[in-house]
Amino acid sequence: MIDYDFLSASGLEEALNYLYKLNQVKVIAGGTDILVNIHNKSKRLPEISYLLDISNIGTLNFIRQVDHYVEIGPLVTHSGLMHEPLVKEKLPLLSCAAHYIGSTQIRNRGTIGGNICNASPAADLLPPLIALRAEVELTYRKGKRVLSLEEFLAGPYKTKIQINELLTKIRIPLPGDGYYTDFQKIGRRKALSISRLNLAVVVKIDEENIFRDARIVPGSATPYPQSLPGVERAVNGQSIHKINIEEIGRIMSEEVVSVTGIRWSTPYKKPVISTLVQRALKEVIKEKSKNE
């Protein structure tokens, strides 16, 4: 059994003060990961003396558009991402991915901030957020800093957050005109299913029908979600009519294996990640053709 004291902060300053003053504090919002880890005495759980509940800090729960960015508060739940019109309209990739998470109950409690800070290799929001070039704002008592999400992630279940910092904002640049997105997920059942593999694709198709600025991020494929420059390069500059999609699939799976090495799951994941990237690109091309 794990002993800890439970703290509840009603404002950001109070939370930051706790983080500054106390040691071995673990932040809890929805609790869908941490409560399970505490219950299971998970090895992933650091030594904790305090659980700091931030779920009552109203100022961390927002979704708004600021210039060319959508800004999302860390306390926004997966259900919030699914249903908020701004996200649905401007970032359909994100609301689509949120749809696949857990169950209704988990989506009602689990938050985007928690999904990011837990940094699971199978997290459903991380590939789309990375592909969307999301940035995270980390606040501490005396200031704040901003990192790209990809930079923020440091390993499986590891991030670069400091012990006195709190994730206070997720900032997503709006993809401009001509951008298309797609999300693919394979699980073992239709709900309450941890991704066996997932994939987020964000790509621009220009007036000449040429792929530009491809961002291809698989989940559950690499030790932690990351974009794959090799396959992105292979896509960029190709015409949507002439691209050899099977070849892209092959490059994708080889790049994934070059990151992970041959593992017990490779015989399955290698062909399937190829299938997923091919499907995603086909979807994107179909969508583009529909718009013409």
Binding site: M1, V36, S103, I186, R188, R189, K190, A191, L192, S193, I194, R196, L197, W264, S265, P267, Y268, P271, V272, T275, L276, R279
Partner: protein, 768 residues
């Protein structure tokens, strides 16, 4: 015949208290001075226990008692073979073996005290594969036994070699199935109360089979049966799973209760439940089949090896049902079947809905499709060519002459409703179609012996007590396990008596009141329990009619009871209301209570030959699965299941459909995703985050088709439904997937990896 109470979808009698949350389950119960107990389980799948140091745990605050094996009066129990340990004594034989149990003022204190018990183990090599265990020089799981064999059943009919010689085609195939967790939604829970109402011990709990629990506890305590009282609570699912594991829990709680003289409550967490409770047997099966060019079956040779795990538990009977039914419902002159169970150091295996048939049906029905493929025949056609009909002789030599053998009917009805023939042709040329998404349709059929058969004594009792105001109490020695037995038996009692079912209240099973009717297993609740209830009602009715005949100076058989009135059959004139009649009988000093007893018709079995009449009647079913397979990822989507089941007579069609829906879902889990994974005896997925069962979102469209051919031995013709619904689904799905992909998978479950690659993967590496 027109029915008034049965054959109707009346509300379940326990629905209101369950949906309003008023129903009390064992974990809801509380008694004054109650203590909480927790079990320390093994660290290794196989080890010698050198020493158990309990001093520190005993002095932990709030700890009131601590037991190890030496505190248990008689440490070994079992329904068939008494070799299951209440607590591990010298050896732990599997990872779920209990070593010590602590009672404390709080559950938390009990759990903390467990951490203070120091066990000095000597880890031993174990045996984790039943085929390995079968070898002559194999390490013995139980050193005192001469080998690892739990049981061997055989069946011989004709000469199988003659059959193969005459065959134009012979196929030999190997199939295997996995460990399955019952996944009842309510984990095990018990409260044991000492010295209560003249009983040494009273046990409340989530117990599927109160009488086997009573037997086990009395035997462990070494006291007579009448000192042990089991009162069954509402039960949150069981599916065969709350038998021996509950007996062990009840025995531990009882010894603690007597030692502390205080009530003891024990509730397992899900993790504890999956770790300790027995599972469905994994089978390894070798099938050889011979047939003529025209598809007539000429010989079948079968070998099944079941993993019994650490204890014998129900393996002898589970593998017996397999030996009887392993050929499936096909006429064959030449059959040679052997089924075996072997001890290993895996988690032990026991009863689970289906009981030795989902495994063999998966093999036999896959094989029939493979044979159809080789002969270029339609799978339905090859089945129709070989199935049992009225007066067919089964593999065990039984002539099916006392009930309607309705296989053809269930196949045709399911085929028609699912559009089987058309779809089969449509999906046939999948290969030439573009895209990764392929559809397939597949069928599986079964015959299933109702009730226990030659396993054990097959009889059941009931008490019907008419109160002086005309209300009625009934009780039965068979248990409500969530399947709807209370409702169905209340309907049967009311129908037979000619009164409204609202008069009837069904009492909870209490072993000190209810007649020992054996276990509520083998889909025998309705057929055995219903007959016993009917028998009691017939006695009371006869007594009432006799009294009325005297009073009205009429012939007894001219009076009937209908719609709560005693009626002159000829003139249809109401003579007296049921209440007035009962009141009169009470005034006259007549006995308004009756006991009913029903003993199943005679059966026989020759262990030497596997010939006889193993069951007194059978049910028949056909399920047809339609799937969509993503051949790019291995994902199988079960779109639709059409399930036709002959139940004899539907006492409550709504409850019956509920059984079909649930059975199809469990069959789907068995076929597509469920697998308790073990690694050298360690359980790798001991919680629902990793042990995956289907969710409501995975539920396919299910079309239940109730087929009714009343059975002369069933109450109003009713037979069985619980198990038949589960046993054939996985086979039907596997056949549909094979059609969709053109590839045959012979190992369950058909998970992503198997469907894509043909083999499964796990952290240990590649599996079959």
């Amino acid at each position: 015949m027109k029915y008034h109470q049965v054959n109707k979808s009346v509300n379940r009698v326990d629905a209101y208290e369950k949906v309003t949350g008023k129903a009390k389950f064992a974990a809801d119960l509380s008694f004054p001075d109650m203590l909480y107990a927790k079990v320390l389980r093994s660290r290794y799948p196989h080890a010698k226990i050198n020493k158990i140091e309990i001093k520190r745990a005993l002095t932990f605050p709030e700890v009131k008692a601590l037991l190890t094996a030496t505190d248990i009066p008689n440490n070994e129990f079992g329904v068939i073979i008494q070799n299951q340990q209440v607590l591990a004594k010298e050896y732990v034989y599997y990872i779920g073996d209990g070593i010590a149990v602590v009672a404390a003022e709080t559950e938390e204190a009990a759990e903390r005290a467990l951490e203070l018990i120091e066990v000095d183990y000597k880890e031993l090599p174990g045996i984790y594969d039943p085929e390995e265990a079968s070898k002559e020089k194999a390490l013995r799981v139980h050193p005192e036994l001469k080998d690892n064999q739990v049981i061997h059943h055989l069946l011989r009919k004709g000469n199988v070699n003659d059959g193969f010689t005459k065959s134009d085609i012979i196929l030999e195939r190997e199939y295997s199935t996995q460990f399955i967790e019952h996944s009842y939604i309510e984990p095990e829970a018990i409260v044991a109360v000492p010295y209560d109402d003249n009983h040494l011990i009273t046990i409340y709990g989530s117990i599927q089979n109160p009488f086997s629990c009573q037997n086990a506890v009395a035997s462990v305590l070494m006291v007579s049966l009448n000192k042990v009282r089991i009162i069954q609570n509402h039960i949150g699912g069981s599916f065969g799973g709350k038998d021996e594991v509950m007996s062990a829990m009840a025995a531990r709680a009882s010894v603690l209760a007597l030692k502390t003289k205080r009530p003891i409550k024990m509730v397992n967490s899900r993790y504890e439940s999956i770790l300790e409770s027995y599972k469905r047997h994994p089978y390894k099966m070798k099938y050889k089949i011979g047939a003529s060019r025209e598809g007539k079956l000429l010989g079948m040779e079968i070998q099944c090896i079941a993993d019994s795990g650490a204890y014998a538990c129900q393996t002898p009977f589970v593998t017996w049902r397999s030996v009887v039914q392993a050929t499936g419902p096909y006429s064959l002159s030449n059959v040679k079947t052997d089924t075996y169970g072997y001890y290993t150091n895996n988690v032990y295996t026991g009863a689970m809905r289906g009981y030795g048939t989902p495994q063999t049906i998966f093999a036999q029905e896959s094989l029939m499709d493979e044979l159809a493929g080789e002969l270029n025949m339609n799978p339905a056609e090859i089945r129709l060519k070989n199935i049992y009909h009225n007066n067919s002789i089964t593999a065990s030599g039984q002539k099916l002459d006392n009930h309607e053998v309705s296989l053809e009917e269930v196949i045709e009805k399911a085929a028609k409703e699912s559009g089987y023939y058309k779809k089969y042709e449509l999906y046939k040329n999948n290969k030439s179609k573009p895209g990764d998404i392929k559809r397939g349709i597949g069928m599986a059929i079964s015959f299933r012996g109702c009730s226990l058969g030659a396993e054990a004594v097959d009889a059941a009792g009931a008490i019907v007590a008419i109160q002086k105001d005309g209300s009625i109490l009934i009780s039965s020695g068979l248990a409500e396990n969530g399947q709807g037995l209370k409702t169905v038996l209340s309907q049967i009692a009311a129908e037979e008596l000619g009164v409204d079912m609202k008069r009837v209240i069904y009492q909870e099973l209490d072993t000190s009141i209810s007649p020992d009717s054996g276990s509520t297993v083998a889909s025998r609740g309705t057929i055995l329990g219903g007959n016993a209830i009917k028998e009691a009602v017939v006695k009371l009715k006869s007594m009432l009619l006799e009294m009325m005949a005297k009073k009205y100076k009429m012939r007894k058989d001219y009076i009937i009871i209908q719609d709560d009135y005693l009626i002159d059959r000829k003139t249809e004139k109401k003579l007296l209301s049921f209440e007035e009649t009962v009141s009169l009988a009470y005034q006259e000093g007549l006995c308004l209570s009756a006991f009913g007893w029903y003993k199943a018709p005679d059966i026989s079995w020759n262990e030497e030959t596997g010939q006889g009449r193993p069951y007194f009647t059978y049910v028949y079913g056909c399920q047809i699965a339609e799937v969509e397979v993503d051949t790019g990822t291995g994902k199988v989507d079960l779109l639709k299941m059409t399930a036709a089941h002959d139940v004899g007579r539907a006492i409550n069609p709504a409850c019956l459909k509920g059984q079909i829906y649930g059975g199809v879902m469990m069959g789907m889990g068995y076929g597509l995703m469920e697998e308790l994974e073990t690694d050298k005896g360690y359980i790798k997925n001991a919680n629902f985050d990793e042990y995956l069962i289907p969710t409501i979102k995975d539920m396919p469209e299910i079309n239940p088709i109730i087929v009714e051919n009343p059975d002369p031995n069933g109450p109003f013709g009713a037979k069985s439904i619980g198990e038949p619904t589960l046993e054939i689904g996985a086979a039907a799905i596997a056949n549909a997937v094979a059609q969709a992909t053109g590839k045959r998978i012979r190992h369950l479950p058909l998970n992503l990896e198997r469907v894509l690659l043909g083999y499964s993967l796990s952290k240990g590496g590649r599996k079959k």
